[in-house]
Protein backbone atom coordinates (compact mmCIF):
# COMPACT_ATOMS: atom_id res chain seq x y z
CA UNK A 1 0.00 0.00 0.00
CA UNK A 2 1.26 3.49 -0.93
CA UNK A 3 1.62 5.94 1.98
CA UNK A 4 0.98 9.48 0.59
CA UNK A 5 2.88 11.16 3.44
CA UNK A 6 5.98 9.09 2.81
CA UNK A 7 5.54 9.70 -0.89
CA UNK A 8 5.49 13.55 -0.47
CA UNK A 9 8.44 13.36 1.94
CA UNK A 10 10.38 11.38 -0.67
CA UNK A 11 9.59 13.94 -3.38
CA UNK A 12 10.61 16.82 -1.10
CA UNK A 13 13.83 15.05 -0.15
CA UNK A 14 14.74 14.60 -3.82
CA UNK A 15 18.21 16.05 -4.33
CA UNK A 16 18.35 18.58 -7.15
CA UNK A 17 22.06 19.27 -6.86
CA UNK A 18 24.63 18.56 -4.15
CA UNK A 19 22.87 18.56 -0.78
CA UNK A 20 20.12 20.86 -1.99
CA UNK A 21 16.75 19.15 -2.03
CA UNK A 22 13.46 20.20 -3.59
CA UNK A 23 12.35 21.16 -0.07
CA UNK A 24 15.29 23.61 0.20
CA UNK A 25 14.42 25.19 -3.15
CA UNK A 26 10.79 25.58 -2.08
CA UNK A 27 11.83 27.22 1.19
CA UNK A 28 14.19 29.52 -0.77
CA UNK A 29 11.38 30.49 -3.17
CA UNK A 30 8.99 31.03 -0.27
CA UNK A 31 11.42 33.31 1.62
CA UNK A 32 12.21 35.37 -1.49
CA UNK A 33 8.50 35.69 -2.34
CA UNK A 34 7.70 36.66 1.23
CA UNK A 35 10.48 39.29 1.15
CA UNK A 36 9.13 40.75 -2.12
CA UNK A 37 5.55 40.81 -0.74
CA UNK A 38 6.68 42.41 2.54
CA UNK A 39 8.80 44.96 0.63
CA UNK A 40 5.85 45.88 -1.60
CA UNK A 41 3.45 46.16 1.34
CA UNK A 42 5.95 48.36 3.19
CA UNK A 43 6.52 50.51 0.10
CA UNK A 44 2.80 51.00 -0.50
CA UNK A 45 2.12 51.83 3.15
CA UNK A 46 5.06 54.22 3.31
CA UNK A 47 3.77 56.01 0.21
CA UNK A 48 0.25 56.28 1.63
CA UNK A 49 1.37 57.41 5.07
CA UNK A 50 4.06 59.89 4.06
CA UNK A 51 2.71 61.20 0.73
CA UNK A 52 1.37 64.47 2.18
CA UNK A 53 4.08 64.84 4.77
CA UNK A 54 7.42 64.77 3.01
CA UNK A 55 8.72 65.88 -0.36
CA UNK A 56 8.03 63.50 -3.25
CA UNK A 57 11.69 63.06 -4.18
CA UNK A 58 12.73 62.19 -0.63
CA UNK A 59 9.79 59.80 -0.32
CA UNK A 60 10.91 58.10 -3.51
CA UNK A 61 14.43 57.55 -2.13
CA UNK A 62 13.04 56.23 1.17
CA UNK A 63 10.67 53.88 -0.67
CA UNK A 64 13.46 52.48 -2.81
CA UNK A 65 15.82 52.10 0.14
CA UNK A 66 13.24 50.23 2.23
CA UNK A 67 12.23 48.07 -0.74
CA UNK A 68 15.75 46.98 -1.64
CA UNK A 69 16.88 46.55 2.00
CA UNK A 70 13.99 44.14 2.70
CA UNK A 71 14.68 42.18 -0.49
CA UNK A 72 18.43 42.06 0.23
CA UNK A 73 17.74 40.74 3.75
CA UNK A 74 15.42 38.12 2.23
CA UNK A 75 18.01 37.01 -0.34
CA UNK A 76 20.85 36.88 2.23
CA UNK A 77 18.69 34.83 4.62
CA UNK A 78 17.52 32.44 1.89
CA UNK A 79 20.77 31.80 0.02
CA UNK A 80 22.27 29.32 2.58
CA UNK A 81 19.09 27.25 2.13
CA UNK A 82 20.13 26.38 -1.44
CA UNK A 83 23.72 25.76 -0.44
CA UNK A 84 25.19 29.08 -1.46
CA UNK A 85 27.96 29.92 0.94
CA UNK A 86 28.15 33.69 1.32
CA UNK A 87 31.76 33.57 2.58
CA UNK A 88 32.80 31.81 -0.63
CA UNK A 89 30.70 34.23 -2.61
CA UNK A 90 32.58 37.15 -1.15
CA UNK A 91 35.93 35.69 -2.20
CA UNK A 92 34.60 34.79 -5.64
CA UNK A 93 32.82 38.11 -5.79
CA UNK A 94 36.09 39.99 -6.14
CA UNK A 95 37.14 38.06 -9.21
CA UNK A 96 33.65 37.87 -10.67
CA UNK A 97 33.15 41.58 -10.01
CA UNK A 98 36.36 42.37 -11.90
CA UNK A 99 35.24 40.31 -14.88
CA UNK A 100 31.74 41.80 -14.87
CA UNK A 101 33.19 45.26 -14.42
CA UNK A 102 35.30 44.97 -17.57
CA UNK A 103 32.50 43.33 -19.49
CA UNK A 104 29.90 45.92 -18.61
CA UNK A 105 31.77 49.14 -18.08
CA UNK A 106 28.95 51.43 -19.18
CA UNK A 107 26.39 49.66 -17.01
CA UNK A 108 28.65 49.98 -13.98
CA UNK A 109 29.41 53.62 -14.83
CA UNK A 110 25.68 54.32 -15.05
CA UNK A 111 25.08 52.46 -11.80
CA UNK A 112 27.76 54.38 -9.90
CA UNK A 113 26.57 57.68 -11.43
CA UNK A 114 23.01 56.78 -10.43
CA UNK A 115 24.06 56.19 -6.83
CA UNK A 116 25.88 59.53 -6.78
CA UNK A 117 22.83 61.24 -8.27
CA UNK A 118 20.56 59.71 -5.63
CA UNK A 119 22.80 60.68 -2.72
CA UNK A 120 24.40 63.94 -3.94
CA UNK A 121 21.04 65.08 -5.32
CA UNK A 122 22.00 67.74 -7.87
CA UNK A 123 18.54 67.05 -9.26
CA UNK A 124 15.45 65.82 -7.48
CA UNK A 125 12.24 64.25 -8.71
CA UNK A 126 9.92 67.03 -9.82
CA UNK A 127 12.74 69.51 -10.58
CA UNK A 128 12.80 71.36 -13.88
CA UNK A 129 16.18 70.77 -15.49
CA UNK A 130 18.16 70.99 -18.71
CA UNK A 131 20.67 68.24 -19.43
CA UNK A 132 22.32 67.75 -22.81
CA UNK A 133 19.76 69.99 -24.46
CA UNK A 134 16.80 68.12 -22.93
CA UNK A 135 14.58 70.38 -20.82
CA UNK A 136 11.70 69.23 -18.67
CA UNK A 137 10.60 67.74 -15.38
CA UNK A 138 12.57 64.95 -13.66
CA UNK A 139 10.06 62.10 -13.49
CA UNK A 140 12.26 59.49 -11.82
CA UNK A 141 15.86 58.72 -10.97
CA UNK A 142 16.54 55.02 -11.46
CA UNK A 143 19.76 53.23 -10.67
CA UNK A 144 20.85 53.27 -14.33
CA UNK A 145 18.96 56.16 -15.88
CA UNK A 146 17.10 59.38 -15.23
CA UNK A 147 13.68 59.90 -16.76
CA UNK A 148 12.78 63.38 -17.95
CA UNK A 149 9.34 64.46 -19.15
CA UNK A 150 9.88 67.34 -21.54
CA UNK A 151 7.56 70.35 -21.52
CA UNK A 152 5.87 68.81 -24.57
CA UNK A 153 5.12 65.68 -22.53
CA UNK A 154 7.73 63.52 -24.28
CA UNK A 155 9.42 60.72 -22.31
CA UNK A 156 13.24 60.93 -22.43
CA UNK A 157 15.54 58.40 -20.78
CA UNK A 158 19.03 59.75 -20.12
CA UNK A 159 21.75 57.35 -18.92
CA UNK A 160 22.96 58.42 -15.49
CA UNK A 161 26.57 58.59 -16.64
CA UNK A 162 25.58 61.29 -19.12
CA UNK A 163 23.56 63.19 -16.51
CA UNK A 164 26.40 63.03 -14.01
CA UNK A 165 29.14 64.11 -16.40
CA UNK A 166 27.13 66.87 -18.15
CA UNK A 167 26.39 70.42 -17.11
CA UNK A 168 23.07 70.31 -15.34
CA UNK A 169 20.90 73.42 -15.27
CA UNK A 170 18.39 73.10 -12.46
CA UNK A 171 15.78 75.83 -12.87
CA UNK A 172 14.25 75.28 -9.44
CA UNK A 173 17.24 74.38 -7.24
CA UNK A 174 16.97 77.77 -5.54
CA UNK A 175 13.74 78.80 -3.87
CA UNK A 176 13.46 82.01 -5.88
CA UNK A 177 14.54 83.06 -9.34
CA UNK A 178 14.48 86.22 -11.40
CA UNK A 179 13.09 86.87 -14.85
CA UNK A 180 12.99 90.02 -16.91
CA UNK A 181 11.18 91.78 -19.72
CA UNK A 182 12.16 94.65 -21.94
CA UNK A 183 9.14 96.79 -22.70
CA UNK A 184 9.45 99.44 -25.38
CA UNK A 185 7.21 102.50 -25.20
CA UNK A 186 6.76 105.31 -27.67
CA UNK A 187 9.05 108.37 -27.47
CA UNK A 188 5.96 110.56 -27.25
CA UNK A 189 4.75 108.81 -24.05
CA UNK A 190 5.68 109.69 -20.48
CA UNK A 191 8.31 107.11 -19.44
CA UNK A 192 7.98 108.07 -15.77
CA UNK A 193 4.26 107.33 -15.87
CA UNK A 194 4.92 104.00 -17.63
CA UNK A 195 7.43 102.99 -14.94
CA UNK A 196 4.86 103.89 -12.27
CA UNK A 197 2.11 101.86 -13.98
CA UNK A 198 4.41 98.83 -14.29
CA UNK A 199 5.51 99.20 -10.66
CA UNK A 200 1.87 99.18 -9.49
CA UNK A 201 1.11 96.02 -11.50
CA UNK A 202 4.20 94.23 -10.15
CA UNK A 203 3.46 95.25 -6.57
CA UNK A 204 -0.12 94.02 -6.85
CA UNK A 205 0.92 90.56 -8.04
CA UNK A 206 1.02 88.14 -5.08
CA UNK A 207 3.98 86.11 -6.35
CA UNK A 208 6.16 88.98 -7.59
CA UNK A 209 8.34 88.89 -4.50
CA UNK A 210 8.53 91.94 -2.26
CA UNK A 211 12.08 91.01 -1.35
CA UNK A 212 14.38 90.89 -3.33
CA UNK A 213 12.65 94.00 -4.67
CA UNK A 214 11.73 94.30 -8.34
CA UNK A 215 13.83 96.61 -10.50
CA UNK A 216 12.01 98.76 -13.09
CA UNK A 217 14.01 101.37 -15.01
CA UNK A 218 14.62 102.96 -18.41
CA UNK A 219 17.44 100.87 -19.79
CA UNK A 220 18.09 102.23 -23.26
CA UNK A 221 16.87 104.64 -25.92
CA UNK A 222 16.23 102.39 -28.90
CA UNK A 223 15.68 103.12 -32.57
CA UNK A 224 11.92 103.04 -32.23
CA UNK A 225 11.18 102.99 -28.51
CA UNK A 226 12.25 103.93 -25.02
CA UNK A 227 13.12 100.56 -23.48
CA UNK A 228 12.04 99.88 -19.93
CA UNK A 229 13.55 96.84 -18.23
CA UNK A 230 11.49 95.01 -15.62
CA UNK A 231 13.31 92.51 -13.37
CA UNK A 232 11.14 90.50 -11.01
CA UNK A 233 11.90 87.72 -8.51
CA UNK A 234 9.32 84.96 -8.05
CA UNK A 235 9.13 81.61 -6.20
CA UNK A 236 10.84 79.04 -8.43
CA UNK A 237 7.85 76.73 -8.33
CA UNK A 238 5.56 79.28 -10.00
CA UNK A 239 7.97 81.59 -11.85
CA UNK A 240 6.79 80.72 -15.35
CA UNK A 241 3.11 81.24 -14.46
CA UNK A 242 4.04 84.59 -12.91
CA UNK A 243 6.10 85.57 -15.97
CA UNK A 244 3.19 84.91 -18.33
CA UNK A 245 0.54 86.45 -16.09
CA UNK A 246 2.51 89.58 -15.27
CA UNK A 247 3.41 90.48 -18.87
CA UNK A 248 -0.23 90.35 -19.90
CA UNK A 249 -1.28 92.51 -16.94
CA UNK A 250 1.46 95.04 -17.71
CA UNK A 251 0.30 95.27 -21.35
CA UNK A 252 -3.34 95.77 -20.33
CA UNK A 253 -2.51 98.43 -17.73
CA UNK A 254 -0.16 100.32 -20.05
CA UNK A 255 -2.88 100.44 -22.70
CA UNK A 256 -5.41 101.65 -20.11
CA UNK A 257 -2.97 104.43 -19.16
CA UNK A 258 -2.73 105.48 -22.80
CA UNK A 259 0.87 104.36 -23.21
CA UNK A 260 1.64 102.84 -26.60
CA UNK A 261 4.00 100.05 -27.45
CA UNK A 262 5.29 101.15 -30.88
CA UNK A 263 6.10 99.14 -33.98
CA UNK A 264 9.68 99.45 -35.26
CA UNK A 265 9.79 102.64 -37.34
CA UNK A 266 12.30 104.67 -39.30
CA UNK A 267 12.06 108.37 -40.11
CA UNK A 268 13.27 109.14 -43.65
CA UNK A 269 14.29 112.70 -44.51
CA UNK A 270 14.37 113.63 -48.17
CA UNK A 271 16.91 116.11 -49.39
CA UNK A 272 15.62 119.55 -50.38
CA UNK A 273 14.01 119.48 -53.79
CA UNK A 274 13.18 115.81 -53.49
CA UNK A 275 14.62 113.01 -55.59
CA UNK A 276 14.68 112.96 -59.35
CA UNK A 277 14.60 109.53 -60.95
CA UNK A 278 16.38 109.21 -64.23
CA UNK A 279 16.58 105.96 -66.16
CA UNK A 280 15.85 103.94 -63.04
CA UNK A 281 18.68 105.60 -61.08
CA UNK A 282 18.26 107.89 -58.05
CA UNK A 283 19.84 111.20 -58.79
CA UNK A 284 19.87 114.03 -56.27
CA UNK A 285 18.12 117.06 -57.58
Amino acid sequence: MIDPVTDIADVLAFKIYGDTSLYDVLIFTFVISAAVIIARILRTNLRRTLKDRIAGDLLNVIEKLVYYIVITIGVISALPQIGVNLTGLLVAGGIVGLVIGFASQSVVANLISGLFLIFERPVKIGDQINVEGVSGFVEDIHVLSTIVRTYDGVYVRIPNEKVFSSSITNFVANVARRFEYTIGISYSDDAGKAVEVIRRVVEAHPFALRNPPPAIFVDSLGDSSVNIVVKVWAPSTVWYDVKMDLLWKIKVELEKAGITIPFPQRVVHFAEGGVKIESGKDVSA
Binding site: R53, A173, N174, P206, F207, R210, N211, W233
Partner: protein, 233 residues
Protein backbone atom coordinates in the same frame (compact mmCIF):
# COMPACT_ATOMS: atom_id res chain seq x y z
CA UNK B 1 -18.56 84.84 11.20
CA UNK B 2 -16.46 81.89 12.43
CA UNK B 3 -18.28 78.88 13.80
CA UNK B 4 -20.25 75.75 12.99
CA UNK B 5 -23.37 75.87 10.82
CA UNK B 6 -26.03 73.30 9.98
CA UNK B 7 -26.72 72.38 6.36
CA UNK B 8 -28.97 74.93 4.66
CA UNK B 9 -27.13 77.93 6.05
CA UNK B 10 -26.67 81.23 4.21
CA UNK B 11 -23.75 83.41 5.34
CA UNK B 12 -22.60 86.79 4.19
CA UNK B 13 -18.95 87.49 5.00
CA UNK B 14 -18.24 91.06 3.96
CA UNK B 15 -19.80 90.66 0.51
CA UNK B 16 -18.96 87.00 0.05
CA UNK B 17 -22.11 84.86 0.08
CA UNK B 18 -21.84 81.28 1.26
CA UNK B 19 -24.79 78.90 0.96
CA UNK B 20 -25.50 75.21 1.29
CA UNK B 21 -28.69 73.91 -0.29
CA UNK B 22 -30.30 70.92 -1.95
CA UNK B 23 -30.72 71.00 -5.73
CA UNK B 24 -31.86 68.17 -8.04
CA UNK B 25 -31.23 65.66 -5.26
CA UNK B 26 -27.66 66.94 -4.72
CA UNK B 27 -26.34 68.72 -1.64
CA UNK B 28 -24.55 71.80 -2.89
CA UNK B 29 -21.97 74.18 -1.41
CA UNK B 30 -21.91 77.55 -3.15
CA UNK B 31 -19.68 80.57 -2.56
CA UNK B 32 -19.84 83.66 -4.68
CA UNK B 33 -18.46 87.16 -4.70
CA UNK B 34 -18.15 89.82 -7.38
CA UNK B 35 -15.01 88.24 -8.77
CA UNK B 36 -15.20 84.55 -7.93
CA UNK B 37 -17.68 81.69 -7.80
CA UNK B 38 -17.14 78.21 -6.31
CA UNK B 39 -19.72 75.42 -6.43
CA UNK B 40 -19.20 71.94 -5.04
CA UNK B 41 -21.41 68.89 -4.52
CA UNK B 42 -21.38 67.21 -1.10
CA UNK B 43 -22.47 63.61 -0.59
CA UNK B 44 -24.68 64.30 2.44
CA UNK B 45 -26.17 67.24 4.33
CA UNK B 46 -23.11 67.85 6.45
CA UNK B 47 -22.42 70.64 8.87
CA UNK B 48 -20.17 73.46 7.72
CA UNK B 49 -17.27 74.77 9.80
CA UNK B 50 -15.96 78.24 9.01
CA UNK B 51 -12.60 78.66 10.74
CA UNK B 52 -9.57 80.86 10.36
CA UNK B 53 -6.85 78.76 8.73
CA UNK B 54 -3.08 79.11 8.51
CA UNK B 55 -2.63 82.26 6.38
CA UNK B 56 -0.08 80.91 3.90
CA UNK B 57 -2.17 79.01 1.36
CA UNK B 58 -3.67 81.56 -1.02
CA UNK B 59 -3.86 82.17 -3.93
CA UNK B 60 -1.78 78.99 -4.24
CA UNK B 61 0.21 77.03 -1.70
CA UNK B 62 3.89 77.71 -2.35
CA UNK B 63 5.18 77.86 1.21
CA UNK B 64 4.30 77.24 4.85
CA UNK B 65 5.95 80.33 6.31
CA UNK B 66 4.51 83.67 7.34
CA UNK B 67 6.78 86.71 7.65
CA UNK B 68 5.43 89.66 9.62
CA UNK B 69 7.38 92.84 9.03
CA UNK B 70 7.14 95.19 12.00
CA UNK B 71 6.44 98.70 10.76
CA UNK B 72 8.19 99.98 13.89
CA UNK B 73 11.26 97.91 14.77
CA UNK B 74 11.47 96.77 18.39
CA UNK B 75 14.71 97.09 20.40
CA UNK B 76 15.14 94.69 23.27
CA UNK B 77 17.77 95.03 25.97
CA UNK B 78 20.08 92.13 26.92
CA UNK B 79 18.27 89.45 28.93
CA UNK B 80 15.03 91.40 28.78
CA UNK B 81 11.61 90.52 27.38
CA UNK B 82 8.71 92.37 25.85
CA UNK B 83 5.12 91.40 25.11
CA UNK B 84 3.14 93.17 22.40
CA UNK B 85 0.33 92.62 19.89
CA UNK B 86 0.61 92.55 16.11
CA UNK B 87 -1.83 91.63 13.37
CA UNK B 88 -1.75 88.78 10.88
CA UNK B 89 -3.77 88.17 7.69
CA UNK B 90 -6.91 86.07 7.94
CA UNK B 91 -7.65 83.22 5.56
CA UNK B 92 -11.02 81.53 5.88
CA UNK B 93 -11.16 77.75 5.77
CA UNK B 94 -14.56 76.18 5.07
CA UNK B 95 -14.70 72.56 6.21
CA UNK B 96 -17.31 69.86 5.86
CA UNK B 97 -17.84 68.02 9.12
CA UNK B 98 -18.19 64.32 8.45
CA UNK B 99 -19.28 61.59 10.81
CA UNK B 100 -15.78 61.20 12.22
CA UNK B 101 -13.57 63.95 10.81
CA UNK B 102 -13.49 67.24 8.97
CA UNK B 103 -12.18 68.00 5.49
CA UNK B 104 -11.31 71.29 3.83
CA UNK B 105 -13.90 72.20 1.25
CA UNK B 106 -12.95 75.73 0.28
CA UNK B 107 -10.78 78.63 1.34
CA UNK B 108 -10.71 82.32 0.61
CA UNK B 109 -9.36 85.59 1.91
CA UNK B 110 -10.38 89.21 1.77
CA UNK B 111 -6.77 90.36 1.94
CA UNK B 112 -4.40 90.77 -1.01
CA UNK B 113 -1.70 88.14 -0.51
CA UNK B 114 1.92 89.09 -1.13
CA UNK B 115 4.95 86.86 -0.89
CA UNK B 116 8.58 87.55 -0.09
CA UNK B 117 11.90 85.80 0.38
CA UNK B 118 13.46 85.41 3.80
CA UNK B 119 17.17 84.63 3.50
CA UNK B 120 19.00 84.02 0.26
CA UNK B 121 17.62 82.51 -2.97
CA UNK B 122 19.82 79.45 -2.32
CA UNK B 123 19.09 78.75 1.35
CA UNK B 124 16.16 81.00 2.26
CA UNK B 125 12.45 80.34 2.41
CA UNK B 126 9.51 81.86 0.57
CA UNK B 127 7.11 83.49 3.01
CA UNK B 128 3.68 85.06 2.89
CA UNK B 129 4.38 88.71 3.72
CA UNK B 130 2.38 90.87 6.09
CA UNK B 131 3.13 94.25 7.61
CA UNK B 132 1.97 95.17 11.09
CA UNK B 133 2.35 97.92 13.62
CA UNK B 134 3.27 96.99 17.18
CA UNK B 135 0.58 97.55 19.80
CA UNK B 136 0.78 97.53 23.58
CA UNK B 137 -2.92 96.53 23.92
CA UNK B 138 -5.22 94.47 21.72
CA UNK B 139 -5.80 96.84 18.78
CA UNK B 140 -9.00 97.66 16.88
CA UNK B 141 -9.04 95.53 13.75
CA UNK B 142 -11.25 94.50 10.87
CA UNK B 143 -11.81 90.82 11.77
CA UNK B 144 -12.57 89.96 8.15
CA UNK B 145 -9.04 90.97 7.20
CA UNK B 146 -6.85 90.63 10.27
CA UNK B 147 -6.32 88.53 13.33
CA UNK B 148 -4.39 89.42 16.47
CA UNK B 149 -1.16 87.77 17.52
CA UNK B 150 0.20 88.20 21.02
CA UNK B 151 3.97 87.99 20.89
CA UNK B 152 6.36 87.53 23.75
CA UNK B 153 9.95 88.26 22.72
CA UNK B 154 12.64 87.12 25.12
CA UNK B 155 16.20 88.22 24.48
CA UNK B 156 18.53 85.69 26.08
CA UNK B 157 21.76 87.11 24.65
CA UNK B 158 24.06 89.77 26.07
CA UNK B 159 23.51 92.32 23.31
CA UNK B 160 20.75 94.71 22.40
CA UNK B 161 18.74 93.30 19.51
CA UNK B 162 16.60 95.00 16.91
CA UNK B 163 13.61 92.96 15.73
CA UNK B 164 12.17 94.02 12.37
CA UNK B 165 10.84 90.72 11.02
CA UNK B 166 9.23 87.68 12.57
CA UNK B 167 8.93 84.43 10.63
CA UNK B 168 6.50 81.73 11.70
CA UNK B 169 5.99 78.19 10.45
CA UNK B 170 2.37 77.24 9.67
CA UNK B 171 3.06 73.72 10.92
CA UNK B 172 3.36 75.12 14.46
CA UNK B 173 0.45 77.58 14.35
CA UNK B 174 -2.28 77.35 16.97
CA UNK B 175 -5.15 79.56 15.84
CA UNK B 176 -8.11 80.41 18.05
CA UNK B 177 -11.28 82.24 17.17
CA UNK B 178 -14.10 84.16 18.79
CA UNK B 179 -15.14 87.50 17.37
CA UNK B 180 -11.73 87.56 15.68
CA UNK B 181 -8.88 85.15 14.99
CA UNK B 182 -5.89 85.04 17.30
CA UNK B 183 -2.55 83.36 17.92
CA UNK B 184 -0.11 83.43 20.81
CA UNK B 185 3.55 83.33 19.78
CA UNK B 186 6.84 83.13 21.65
CA UNK B 187 10.10 84.40 20.23
CA UNK B 188 13.43 83.51 21.82
CA UNK B 189 16.26 85.70 20.57
CA UNK B 190 19.46 83.67 20.66
CA UNK B 191 21.77 86.35 19.25
CA UNK B 192 21.48 89.49 17.15
CA UNK B 193 20.93 87.42 13.98
CA UNK B 194 19.16 84.28 15.19
CA UNK B 195 15.84 83.71 16.92
CA UNK B 196 13.44 80.84 17.49
CA UNK B 197 9.71 81.31 16.94
CA UNK B 198 7.06 78.98 18.32
CA UNK B 199 3.41 79.04 19.37
CA UNK B 200 1.74 78.67 22.74
CA UNK B 201 -1.30 76.43 22.82
CA UNK B 202 -3.42 78.94 24.71
CA UNK B 203 -5.84 81.60 23.45
CA UNK B 204 -5.06 85.26 24.07
CA UNK B 205 -8.51 85.73 25.63
CA UNK B 206 -10.87 83.46 27.54
CA UNK B 207 -13.73 81.89 25.63
CA UNK B 208 -11.94 81.52 22.30
CA UNK B 209 -12.22 78.20 20.45
CA UNK B 210 -9.42 76.33 18.74
CA UNK B 211 -9.53 76.38 14.94
CA UNK B 212 -8.99 73.28 12.82
CA UNK B 213 -5.26 72.85 12.20
CA UNK B 214 -4.85 72.18 8.53
CA UNK B 215 -1.10 71.77 8.55
CA UNK B 216 -0.88 69.66 11.69
CA UNK B 217 -2.79 66.91 9.87
CA UNK B 218 0.26 66.50 7.64
CA UNK B 219 2.80 66.92 10.43
CA UNK B 220 5.26 64.18 11.30
CA UNK B 221 5.67 63.60 15.04
CA UNK B 222 9.46 64.03 14.73
CA UNK B 223 9.19 67.59 13.41
CA UNK B 224 10.61 70.45 15.48
CA UNK B 225 8.19 72.58 17.44
CA UNK B 226 9.93 75.86 16.59
CA UNK B 227 11.24 77.66 13.52
CA UNK B 228 14.78 79.00 13.67
CA UNK B 229 15.19 82.40 12.02
CA UNK B 230 18.80 82.20 10.96
CA UNK B 231 18.94 84.91 8.29
CA UNK B 232 18.46 87.90 10.55
CA UNK B 233 15.70 89.54 12.52
Amino acid sequence: MFGSYEFGVTLNIDGIKIETYKEDGFYVYHRRSETQEVRKVISFASRLLVNPSEPVRLPKEVTHYLLIELQEPVFIAPNDELTFYITFPVEFGVYVAGRKNVELLDSFTLTSPKYTLYGTPKDGVICRWWGSYVHRQIPEIDPYLEGIMKVNVKNICDDWVEVKNLVFDAYHMKIYYGDFASMHAAVKVINTKVAETSFIERPIMDGMKKAVELFSLRKLPVMRKAFVMEWGL
